[in-house]
Symmetry: C2
Subunit: 339 residues, 2 copies
């Protein structure tokens, strides 16, 4: 069987916003499998904001994405050939398959490839609600914000895969949940579909004063927990409304991904309000994934958990879809369908 694989490589590091010429579509033949290896046909590719950080050649929590190699990324797909006793053709799996149509991988190492059950949960959900974004939401909410019933939780990027999950998990714990999203359509859906108590359109409140006023109206009892996905002026505005002993979980700071650091205007509020701010990377807490996935999977399978997907068609459209993601063009989980 001679298979041609198509891959997207990073060929130059973006300065500021990524452009299509930072990427290249490359065709490579798939070599025959060695003992222990598995060949997976990737069905969906996950696009996530963290990928922008990896494109920089700078100190961070992870190694930079190497140039002229396939872009990293989470995938779900189906095993088409196996020389590994734990996998057989037809198995549905989730892994880090990268921006490519086929993944040839040594599946002997634990955790490289996980079989999943699609009886009650769609395959694509394992990249979103029941995957890394869902666990990210779960970790930040339960391990850092830990809201009590009646407290107020604010979530930025509320219509994104992580933000939407944060809000629904917080609602399930009895919190008042206020989202922040871009545009009236997203805000309406966050309230109507995802069940948030309110949602603020940050595009309608472009400055600190206006945003702070909107937060005051949406959060009459102040803010007890904030799930941070964006940074910048939104972080400053939330801190101005933070209650004593409030918590901020730092998950992403997308506002600064493309350029210079954006300062925090008033860090003395950390002291004045006895706040706790904590950054986290969900892949460093693998011991909690089973617990998180159990809760998320149950909520998805029973329909308690709502999520949307924005799906780009075809590997060749992955770079453009990724650029759109960074600008908030998606609603919910951004995927690329590869078959």
């Amino acid at each position: 069987m001679s298979i041609t694989n198509r891959q997207i490589h990073l060929v130059s590091r973006p300065q500021g916003e990524p452009r299509t010429d930072n990427f290249a579509l490359v065709e490579t033949p798939v070599a025959p499998l060695a003992e222990g290896e598995v060949l997976v046909r990737n069905h969906y590719l996950s696009l996530d904001p963290y990928m922008r950080g990896r494109m920089n050649d700078s100190k961070s929590y992870a190694q930079p994405q190497p140039l002229n190699e396939v872009m990293i990324g989470g995938t779900v797909g189906e095993v088409v050939e196996s020389r590994n006793e734990h996998f057989k053709a037809g198995d549905q799996v989730v892994g880090m398959g990268g921006w490519q149509e086929y993944q040839r991988v040594n599946a002997s190492q634990r955790g490289v490839l996980q079989k999943v059950d699609t009886t009650h949960i769609p395959l694509s959900a394992y990249l979103g609600a029941v995957g890394m974004p869902g666990v990210t939401a779960w970790y930040g909410l339960t391990q850092i914000l830990n809201p009590k019933a009646g407290e107020t939780v604010v979530v930025s990027s509320a219509s994104g895969a992580v933000g939407g999950a944060v809000g629904q998990l917080a609602k399930a714990r009895g919190a008042r949940v206020v989202g922040i999203a871009g545009g009236p359509a997203k805000c309406e859906a966050v309230v109507q579909e995802l069940g948030f108590d309110a949602c603020i359109d940050y595009k309608a409140h472009p400055d600190l004063r206006s945003l702070s006023k909107a937060l005051k109206e949406a959060c009459p009892d102040g803010i007890d927990g904030y799930f941070e996905n964006v940074g910048g002026v939104i972080l400053d505005a939330v801190m101005l409304r933070a209650n004593a002993f409030s918590r901020i979980a730092f998950c992403g700071m997308i506002a600064g991904y493309n350029g210079e650091p954006i300062p925090m205007a008033n860090p003395s509020l950390i002291l004045v309000n006895r706040m706790k701010l904590e950054g986290f990377i969900v892949s460093e807490h693998m011991e909690l994934w089973p617990q998180a996935l159990k809760e998320l999977g149950t909520m998805v399978a029973t329909g308690q958990f709502k999520y949307r997907e924005t799906v780009a068609q075809g590997l060749e459209n992955a770079p453009e879809a990724f650029m759109g993601l960074l600008k908030g063009k998606n609603f919910g989980k951004q995927l690329v369908k590869l078959v």
Copy 2:
């Protein structure tokens, strides 16, 4: 017995740095004791940075200091008259006696006045090493920074009452301890007397680049815990050297006490380094004071714990001593001797 009490009142709110004309010396007669009351002759008055915050009429964790009333402040002294069964003349006590020579107080309420034992610990130490500053250091170090042996802890205001205690408590736990203080004399004493591993003179490193370089040299393995007393450029410099999973305890941000908020330059480091930043007010954790005071008292009584005091003479000199404290003119605990 007719006693005239002398008090320092706050008569106007300082704009920027406090000035002597923000204060007034007022003489008032001491009224006869009512049932349950105790009259204390204050021996020492504690001056602390938090008092500057109280002078503002703004939202904070505590009520503003009222105008034309005696300034709040911790005191140690001796009971001279008692109509309370739990206290008798001659008892040595610690309390919140304020900027005045005598304190008439209803001592029935628990915690208003505490008897202390000066057999092995000097009376003044109950305002410093074995008082609020010591417990502040203990709380931030043990409950937030929680350093493991071999980790590096950095402390600003290292020659102050809190900073000096933080460093010695961290050393006792096997950490490498680096202080930051103003001027070569203070830095030398922090290393020679208090036993820190190194001390950086921030006056010799006035900008971020220079300070960051000095921190790199003093902390070759990076920074795992930072006890924050000052804010501003020192906070920014420490964050640039912070390790993964490092912690910052926010105790004071004296750099911003007199003016506009000072931004934090690069909050995305909270995420990149998965840091935890936490503000605290030691008076909100009274349940831990006995544990803290036991450790601190033992260390002081056995001579394991070193501290210095800067003592101003006479109540009338309290305002000037306080202004000096805000500028870092003191070494160790700033006291005013009232007898």
